[in-house]
C-alpha cells in the first residue's frame, strides 16, 4: 500500500508539486493525469525518490520510503521511467535479468532458479522472449519499451510506478501490457501508480484517477468523478465531451475541435429522395446524425444514405446481417454509411411530405395488417407477422441528444394517434391498435442551422414532427387501405 501525505517538491528551490496527498490500496491501479507541465512526472520522481520531497512524507507498507536502503526499496518498488536512448546496449535477456539485481547478494552473485523463473515470466508476460538474444539498439521503440517493462516486472516488487507505459506502443501492445498489469493487480495484488497521457486508457484501466493542475491535485476519485467535461476543459484548456464506453461502465473523453468544419455538413430537401421498384432511398450530400431502430446500422451514428427496402413477405435468412450487407454492396451503397429498414410494402406506397419549408421531412410506409394494441400484447405469445410501419423524420437543424430522444417519443405518439384516427384495430382483441409488432423509427438531423435543444410537443420542431408524422402516417394508412 502506498500512502502519500502532503508532499511538495521538485527541482531546485521552488517546488513544482505542492501539497499532494493520496492513498493507493494494495491491488489497485491509480492513474495520474494532467496537462504538460502539470507535475505528473515530477510527482512520480518524488515518490520514487529520484527527487527529494521538501515537505510531507511517503509511506510504503507503513514505512517511510527514505528509511529503506536502495536495494530494499528496489525489492518493494519497481519504476519504469520514460524511454531514453542509451550509448551502449545489451541483449534483451541481459536487460531483463538486471531486474533481479536487488535480489542478488553483493559479492558473488549466483543466479538462482527463482531468478530464472522471474525473468522468464516477465519476458513471457510482455511478449519479448522471441527477441531474447537480440540487442536492444536494433529493436523498435515499442519492443524496447516492453523490454524495460519486463525488467521492472522481474523485480517482483509489490508497487509498480510507470511513466506513460504505453508510449511507443501500438494499440494491440497497449492492450497486452495494460491487460497484463490489470491482471497482475487483480490476481497478485500488484499496486500500480502510472502517469497517463491518454485519458481514455486511464479511465479504462485505472480504479482511481488523480488529476494534476499546476502542481496541485485538482481532482482525485473514480474515473467518472474525475473525467468531467467542465473539469477537463478547465484544466487542459481544450473543448471535450464525455461519453459512455460501449462495454464498460467507464467514461470516455473525446475532443471537440475548435475549428468549424462546415464542409462536413449539408442541408437536405425533398430532392434527396428517390423511389425505385425495390426501395425508397434518401441520399444526402453530407452525413446526418441518426438515431434509429433500423435492421442495419441501428443506434446512434452518422449516415448519408437511408434505405427502406421492399422484401418478399416470406423474407427470412439464417444470417440476415450478411444478406443485408450483400444487398447494399451489390447496389454500390457504402455499408458503413447506410441505414436500412425492411418492409413488405411496395416502395411506391411511401408517403413523403415536407413541412415548414423543409424544416421537417417525414417519410412513412405503413402496412397495418399486423396491427397490435401494445397494452394487450402480453396476453399472447406470438411470432411477428408481416406488416410494419417504417417512419423517417429528417430535420434541418442541430439537435441535442435530449432532442433526439424527445423526437422519437413525439413521433411515436403521433403515429399511435394516426392509428386511432384511422380506427386500426388489433385483430385479436378488437381494441384500437398502437402500432405493429415490427415498427421502425429513424430520426435524422443535419446538425447545422438552428440549435434545437428540445423536441417535445410544445417546441417548434416538436409541433412539426407531431403534425408531420400524424399526417403522413394517416395518408400511408389510407393508401394501404385502398390497395388492400
Amino acid at each position: 500500500m502506498l500512502k502519500v501525505e502532503h508532499i511538495s517538491g521538485g527541482y531546485g528551490a521552488t517546488p513544482i508539486i505542492k501539497d499532494v496527498s493520496f492513498t493507493v490500496p494494495k491491488g489497485k491501479i491509480l492513474g495520474i493525469l494532467g496537462p504538460n507541465g502539470s507535475g505528473k512526472s515530477t510527482l512520480l520522481k518524488v515518490i520514487s525518490g529520484v527527487l527529494p520531497a521538501s515537505a510531507g512524507r511517503i509511506l510504503l507498507d507503513d514505512k517511510e520510503i527514505n528509511t529503506y536502503s536502495t536495494k530494499e526499496l528496489a525489492k518493494k518498488m519497481a519504476v519504469l521511467p520514460q524511454l531514453h536512448a542509451n550509448a551502449f546496449s545489451n541483449s534483451v535477456r541481459d536487460a531483463v535479468s538486471l531486474g533481479r539485481y536487488p535480489h542478488q547478494s553483493s559479492f558473488f552473485a549466483s543466479w538462482s532458479e527463482q531468478d530464472e523463473q522471474a525473468v522468464q515470466t516477465a519476458m513471457m508476460q510482455t511478449g519479448v522472449q522471441q527477441y531474447e538474444h537480440a540487442y536492444l539498439e536494433y529493436l523498435s521503440g515499442g519492443e524496447q519499451q516492453r523490454t524495460f517493462i519486463a525488467q521492472a516486472l522481474a523485480q517482483c516488487a509489490g508497487l509498480l510506478l510507470l511513466d506513460e507505459p504505453t508510449n511507443h506502443l501500438d494499440i494491440a501492445h497497449q492492450q497486452q501490457i495494460l491487460d497484463m498489469i490489470r491482471k497482475e493487480a487483480l490476481e497478485c495484488e500488484l499496486t500500480v501508480v502510472s502517469v497517463f497521457h491518454d485519458m481514455n486508457l486511464a479511465s479504462l484501466y485505472c480504479d482511481e484517477l488523480l488529476l494534476m493542475d499546476k502542481g496541485q491535485v485538482k481532482a482525485f476519485g473514480k474515473p467518472h468523478e474525475v473525467l468531467l467535461e467542465t473539469q477537463i476543459a478547465g484544466v487542459y484548456g481544450a473543448r471535450v465531451a464525455t461519453y459512455a464506453h460501449p462495454e464498460l461502465p467507464k467514461p470516455q473523453v473525446t475532443q471537440l475541435p475548435k475549428l468549424k468544419q462546415e464542409n462536413l455538413f449539408a442541408a437536405v430537401t425533398m430532392e434527396h429522395f428517390t423511389i425505385t421498384d425495390n426501395f425508397v432511398q434518401f441520399q444526402a450530400d453530407a452525413p446526418l446524425k441518426v438515431i434509429s431502430s433500423a435492421v442495419y446500422n441501428a443506434g446512434m451514428g452518422w449516415y448519408t444514405t437511408f434505405i427502406n427496402r421492399t422484401v418478399e413477405p416470406t423474407y427470412y435468412y439464417e444470417n440476415m446481417k450478411e444478406e443485408l450487407l450483400s444487398f447494399l454492396t451489390a447496389r454500390g451503397f457504402v455499408p458503413t454509411n447506410t441505414v436500412m429498414m425492411l418492409t413488405a410494402l411496395e416502395a411506391q406506397n411511401a408517403v413523403i411530405e415536407s413541412y415548414a419549408d423543409g424544416l421537417v421531412i417525414v417519410a412513412v410506409t405503413a402496412g397495418v395488417g399486423n396491427a397490435v394494441d401494445v397494452t394487450r400484447a402480453f396476453e399472447q405469445d406470438e411470432q411477428p407477422h408481416i406488416g410494419t410501419i417504417n417512419t423517417w423524420v429528417i430535420i434541418n437543424g442541430k439537435l441535442s441528444d435530449e432532442a433526439f430522444y424527445q423526437a422519437m417519443i413525439t413521433a411515436t405518439e403521433a403515429k399511435t394517434k394516426a392509428l386511432a384516427e384511422e380506427n386500426i384495430r388489433d385483430a385479436r382483441t378488437g381494441t384500437i391498435a398502437t402500432g405493429t409488432s415490427t415498427d421502425s423509427l429513424l430520426i435524422a438531423a443535419t446538425q447545422i442551422g438552428d440549435e434545437m435543444p428540445y423536441a417535445g410537443p410544445v417546441t417548434t420542431i416538436g409541433k412539426w414532427i407531431g403534425r408531420g408524422v400524424f399526417e403522413a402516417t394517416s395518408k400511408a394508412i389510407a393508401k394501404y387501405k385502398m390497395e388492400g
Binding site: 520514487s48 536502495t70 518498488m77 551502449f88 541481459d94 539485481y101 536487488p102 553483493s106 521492472a152
Partner: protein
C-alpha cells in the same frame, strides 16, 4: 547457457593472444632469444640476463599498463555512458603529467626517492587532481551527474594541459626529456617499476570488478540504476576511485599512452556486447596484449632507434578506431 559459452570462448582466445604477445615480446628484439632460455641459464648467460632483467620486466610493465588503461577505459565509458570517454577524460592523467613534467622541468630529485621521484610526484599529481575534480563536480551539482563529471574533467584537463604547455614553452634543454615522457615509454624501467604499480593495479581492478553488475545497470542511466536497487552514489565513487588509481599509476610510470583505454573496450564490446561481467576482464587481458605488441613494434620497426610507444598506439589505434566507428554506424543502418 550460450552467454556462458561465449564468455569461455572469449576468455580462451584472449588469454591465448596474451601468451603469444608475451612470448613475442620477450623473444623478438635486437637479439632473438629462444624460449628455452627462460629456464636454461647455462647455455647462454647473456641471453638469460637480457630476458630476465630487460625484456621480461619491460613486457610485464607494458602488459600491466595496457591492462590498467583498458579496464579503466571500459569502466569510465560505462559509468559516463559515453563511448568517447577514456581513462584520460576526467583529467587525472593531466594531473599525473603535470607532476611528472614539473619534476623534469625543475629537475627535482628527492634524496630518499632518487630516480623514483618522478613517478611518485606523478602519482601525487594524479591523486590531487582526482580529489579536486570530484570535489568541484560535487560543488557544482550535489548529485554529481555524469554530465557534470565530464565537463569538470574537460575544464581541468585543459587547464592542466596549458600548464604542461607552459613548461614546455619555457624549457630549454629538457624539451626532449619532457616530450619523450609525454609520448610514453616502458623502456629502461626494470622490475622496481613493475613492483611499484602492481598494488595499484590489484586494488583498482578489484574495485571496478566488484561493480561489474552495477555498471551494467548504470549504462541505462543513473535513475534507472537507482530504481533497480543500485546504490549509485557509492558505486560511482568506487568506480571513479578504482579507475583513477589505475590511470594515475599507469601514467606515472609510463607517460600518457593514448588509445589503449579508448579502443580496447570498444573492440571487446563489438565482439561480446556491453555486459560488464565479461567486458571488464576481457578488456584487461586484451589491453595487455595490445600494449605488449605496440611496445614490440616501437622498439623493432626502425631498430636500433626506439620510437615512443605512445606514437605507435595512436598510429595503430586511430585506424582501428576509425574502422570500428564506421562498422558500428553502418550496422546501425544510419
Amino acid at each position: 547457457m550460450s552467454q556462458n559459452k561465449k564468455g569461455v570462448i572469449a576468455y580462451v582466445i584472449s588469454l591465448a593472444l596474451l601468451l603469444i604477445s608475451i612470448w613475442l615480446g620477450i623473444a623478438v628484439g635486437s637479439v632473438n632469444i629462444p624460449l628455452s632460455t627462460l629456464w636454461d641459464k647455462e647455455t647462454d648467460p647473456t641471453a638469460y640476463s637480457i630476458l630476465w632483467n630487460i625484456r621480461m620486466p619491460r613486457v610485464m610493465l607494458a602488459a600491466l599498463i595496457g591492462a590498467s588503461l583498458a579496464i579503466a577505459g571500459a569502466a569510465f565509458q560505462g559509468l559516463l555512458k559515453n563511448p568517447l570517454a577514456d581513462p584520460y577524460t576526467l583529467g587525472i592523467s593531466s594531473g599525473a603529467s603535470v607532476g611528472a613534467v614539473a619534476t623534469i622541468y625543475f629537475s627535482i630529485s628527492l634524496p630518499l626517492l632518487g630516480t623514483f621521484t618522478l613517478p611518485v610526484f606523478s602519482m601525487l599529481g594524479a591523486a590531487i587532481t582526482m580529489i579536486i575534480v570530484m570535489t568541484f563536480a560535487r560543488l557544482v551539482d550535489r548529485t554529481m551527474k555524469m554530465e557534470t563529471l565530464i565537463l569538470t574533467g574537460v575544464i581541468f584537463s585543459s587547464f592542466l594541459g596549458s600548464c604542461i604547455s607552459l613548461m614546455i614553452a619555457l624549457t630549454g634543454e629538457q624539451l626532449r626529456l619532457i616530450m619523450g615522457w609525454l609520448l610514453g615509454s616502458v623502456s629502461m624501467r626494470g622490475w622496481p617499476y613493475v613492483q611499484m604499480i602492481i598494488p595499484f593495479v590489484i586494488v583498482g581492478v578489484l574495485l571496478i570488478w566488484l561493480n561489474r553488475r552495477e555498471l551494467n545497470a548504470m549504462i541505462y542511466g543513473e535513475e534507472r540504476a537507482k530504481h533497480l536497487g543500485v546504490d549509485v552514489k557509492r558505486s560511482k565513487y568506487i568506480i571513479l576511485a578504482g579507475g583513477s588509481m589505475l590511470t594515475g599509476a599507469a601514467v606515472a610510470v609510463s607517460g600518457t599512452i593514448g588509445f589503449v583505454g579508448l579502443v580496447v573496450p570498444h573492440m571487446v564490446r563489438m565482439i561480446i556486447g556491453a555486459d560488464h561481467r565479461l567486458l571488464l576482464m576481457l578488456s584487461f587481458i586484451n589491453g595487455a596484449s595490445l600494449l605488449v605488441i605496440c611496445d614490440l613494434v616501437s622498439r623493432t620497426i626502425i631498430a636500433p632507434t626506439e620510437l615512443p610507444i605512445g606514437v605507435i598506439t595512436a598510429f595503430i589505434g586511430a585506424p582501428i578506431f576509425a574502422y570500428i566507428f564506421y562498422k558500428q554506424r553502418r550496422k546501425g543502418g544510419a
